[in-house]
Symmetry: C2
Subunit: 524 residues, 2 copies
């Protein structure tokens, strides 16, 4: 494979004629060849028409064939080898180990969904057989299965150039559900996007799938992406990025003649609550792990710990001193894009200049475009008085909120918007306090974790990477883990169908051996 | 119990001071005593505060206690006896057998959800145990369960004064999920609403539930209902009614600081497709059953067959003659409200005056406020040319669209918006044609049924009473059947929780014996 700068529209490659997008070397800000041509509205039309044409065939592929397709995508990504890793390192400034780890995660995610497809629970097959003798009225034969919702638009994230991008969680779960996917590539890593796109395009060919199952477009502005969400053939949207961007797509989707679901994962400051006995027992260890989580990947994780809540006390002061010491030796790191670097510096400066905010510690300074970690502190009173302090600073910055008592801590927690994660550090003696906080934690976050940090999102069956707005636009869902497939499904009932016409999942003979719920009881 | 005209706010009864609502005798248009006082914004504030206060306790009630609560509501509704039936008949004009049948359905629905609660699958319990020895990184212990989404606002329907109203499907599924409910009573049956509300209020007391679990408010205008949807403590909305009403609530919910899901079931014309061999074999029988479905309950069902699609042919003409003959003898019936009667007459008149529409037959005329059934026909060409012909006429009116060939029929089908149901009449020789249509049928409707009609919605595990917009606002859901509970749930992950702190559903000991998915495999 090689990077050409072309759009991938079904099985075609097309030179976009609508402006140029350049990959940027994250460490230097220099342009990387070649330039990428932006899609025109005609290119978009072709991609949408192909996706629509592919939908009915693709959604009825056998579970076996669809699972194999997902595995072929995974293999084709691995086959890109070092070309992918190196381009991705250049475009993002992330180190090799991280990129290789993220590639493993991306591939593992595709395999997980292949397993989910084969197992078949996602079809939610339900059979309520006819009751012809029931009085006063007979019951018809009624069966239900989930079908794919329709073609899906995916907007990748800048901060996970593989795992939340072209072949990331949204694409993998949508393809698993039976939905064709059109990806709008993130302009922060266009070369990475094209390479991965080529791997998917080849898998479509390798597996004889209808070509419209996948297209990849570049957008030199915002018009093409907005038109993608507005297109009547698109039936759902996956997005990972800023709150402003996500809300803009939500508004477009809601204003359509047929409104459609948008799964936007947007903004989270991921509070960390340090309970008193845990702090008394082990503030130095917690501080060290906290700084590790804060500075991981230059702090550019959706689950980065941007807020620390604790009771104001000598043990908290010990934590602050230990965190400050750990920061002293923490290296600066190249940020994903010059724009993200500038926003980070502005966010840090605003905190530094805030009259009620105190600087606790800073990381090592770096070269141009490298983010320097920063830790601040304020009081719960000041925090509650100024909404600006609740806003996410994307990068390795965090704010400690010193609370006079548990009631104040709960008030701060209650004042927060929805979160992806909340971490609580506890010892056994803190469990009563944890019990008092838990109902609020559950209402505020998609994942509550003890004695750890939210960074490092396991791709598994029990993961929720979601949460109330604005963590996501749809608190009923997760964008990581096997449950993510549910976002791209809708139930359909079939009444009084003869066996020969029923979809395979609903036949009495159950040829794929999937779990069926018969009269309300699961038969696996 | 007796009808007092008061609001039910938690365990209190309150005289609303914001205008008056009167029950109306459907058959005469006369007022029924007593008047109902409209809620003020202060009343609403009290109801929301109580619901919010009840939420954390109610959502953690044991499955056993919650199921018993639902069953107690059912028993208390039955205990209202004839007072409920007679008031409901007066307010709606519906006959005794229908009201008694609907009461049985309402009670059955509550029992179904009691069973769903006891069974526990709705909790979606998932356990991915820790893998401390995994390389390169250990895996944490991660567990997931669904929790209730929060207090829910329910807007009942005029056409199902019991089954889609105060204790109807939305309320039953929200309570089953663990959500407190605030019902805005439909002004078409305020006395029925109050009686059923009293039955729920008493069940809250009987079962020692927190009082905020249920409130019932009357609204003399629209402000209180709109403020209910906008209130920050409300986390989801159930609505059954007009497209305009549903879209208005969707817009309010989307404009909130925290947008919330709205489950609005709005508008459907429920196409009936008559395939050629079925018509050739049995047009007279189909015509008779069609007229029966069309005129059932004065045609006031969401699933009323408002559109018939067939190939223009002598067998269709035979169907039209037979339907016209059946209509000749079909009685007029009192409609739910004078307003609904007037809208129906206007809709019928517009069809009658349409230059491309032909009258096929009419039912018997009736007295004032009784709807007279009407059947029209047009061509696929005319139908495609005028969007007005696709609009729902709520009542016993239907339009036959004569198509020159299968391609034209498919074009008409494709031009339609989302539907609750599509019925297809087939014989074995039509199965190839059915196969060609099926992908489109699935994309257009929540339920596809063969050789029957959509009226009569079974409350069971495999039912989908839903469909693409505008049939509903959320095609991923159903408002009837056990799957309806999913609308009021959201998943939460718990990471590295000790057994003692884990919610019961996620403990290794599984004290409630619910299905748990362990490492991706269900253990029932």
């Amino acid at each position: 494979m090689s990077i050409t700068g072309q759009l991938l529209i079904g099985q075609s490659t097309v030179r976009g004629q609508n402006g140029e997008i350049w990959g940027i070397e994250a460490a230097t800000g220099d342009r990387l060849s070649p330039p990428f041509g932006g899609a025109t509205l005609d290119d978009l039309e072709t991609a949408c028409a192909l996706a629509d044409a592919a939908f009915d065939t693709y959604r009825e592929t056998s579970l076996h064939d669809r699972a194999q397709f997902l595995e072929t995508i995974a293999n084709n990504i691995l086959a890109l080898g070092d070309e992918l890793v190196e381009r991705c390192m250049s475009e993002t400034g992330l180190p090799r180990a991280r990129i290789e780890g993220e590639r493993a995660r991306t591939v593992g995610q595709l395999s997980l969904f292949a397993g989910v497809v084969r197992e078949g629970s996602f079809l939610e097959a339900r059979i309520d057989p006819a009751l012809p003798d029931r009085t006063p009225l007979a019951r018809a034969d009624i069966r239900l299965r989930n079908i794919a919702i329709g073609p899906v638009a995916v907007f990748g994230a800048s901060n996970f150039p593989l795992a939340f991008s072209v072949a990331g969680g949204d694409t993998a779960s949508a393809l698993a559900a039976g939905c064709p996917v059109i990806v709008k590539a993130h302009s922060a890593h266009p070369g990475t996007a094209e390479l991965v796109g080529q791997a998917i395009q080849k898998a479509v060919r390798d597996c004889n799938m209808p070509e419209g199952v996948f297209s990849l477009i570049f957008d030199s502005g915002r018009t093409v992406g907005q038109n993608l969400v507005a297109d009547h053939r698109i039936k759902a949207v996956g997005f990972t990025g800023s709150r402003g961007g996500g809300v803009a797509l939500m508004n477009i989707a809601a204003a359509r003649e047929e409104p459609i679901p948008v799964y936007a994962e947007m903004s989270s400051i991921n509070p960390v609550i340090l309970l008193p006995h845990a702090l008394a027992e082990r503030s130095p260890e917690i501080a060290k792990l906290f700084v590790g989580s804060l500075t991981l990947g230059a702090g550019q994780f959706c689950t980065n710990p941007g807020l620390v809540l604790a009771l104001h006390s000598p043990v908290l002061e010990a934590f602050e001193r230990a965190a400050s010491a750990a920061l002293d030796t923490s290296s600066a790191a190249t940020m994903l894009t010059p724009g993200i670097y500038r926003s980070y510096c502005e966010g840090v400066e605003q905190l530094a200049l805030h009259p009620s905010v105190e600087l606790i510690g800073k990381g090592q300074p770096g070269t141009a475009l490298q983010g320097q970690a920063a830790l601040f502190a304020t009081t719960s009173e000041a925090f509650l008085a100024d909404r600006a302090l609740r806003e996410e600073v994307f990068g390795a910055a965090s704010l400690i909120v010193r609370c006079p008592d548990e009631a104040a801590l709960l008030k701060v927690l209650t004042s927060l918007e929805g979160q992806l994660t909340i971490a609580v550090h506890t010892s056994a003696e803190d469990h009563h306090a944890l019990g008092r906080l838990l109902p609020t934690l559950e209402k505020k976050a998609g994942r509550v974790l003890l004695n750890g940090f939210g960074t490092g999102v396991e791709v598994c069956h029990a993961m929720v990477h979601g949460g109330p707005f604005p963590a996501t636009s749809d608190t009923r869902t997760t964008s990581v883990g096997s449950l993510a497939i549910n976002r791209f499904l809708r139930p359909v009932s079939y009444q009084d169908f003869p066996q020969s016409v029923l979809p395979s999942a609903l036949k009495d003979s159950n040829p794929s051996g999937i779990p069926q719920r018969i009269n309300g009881v699961i038969r696996p």
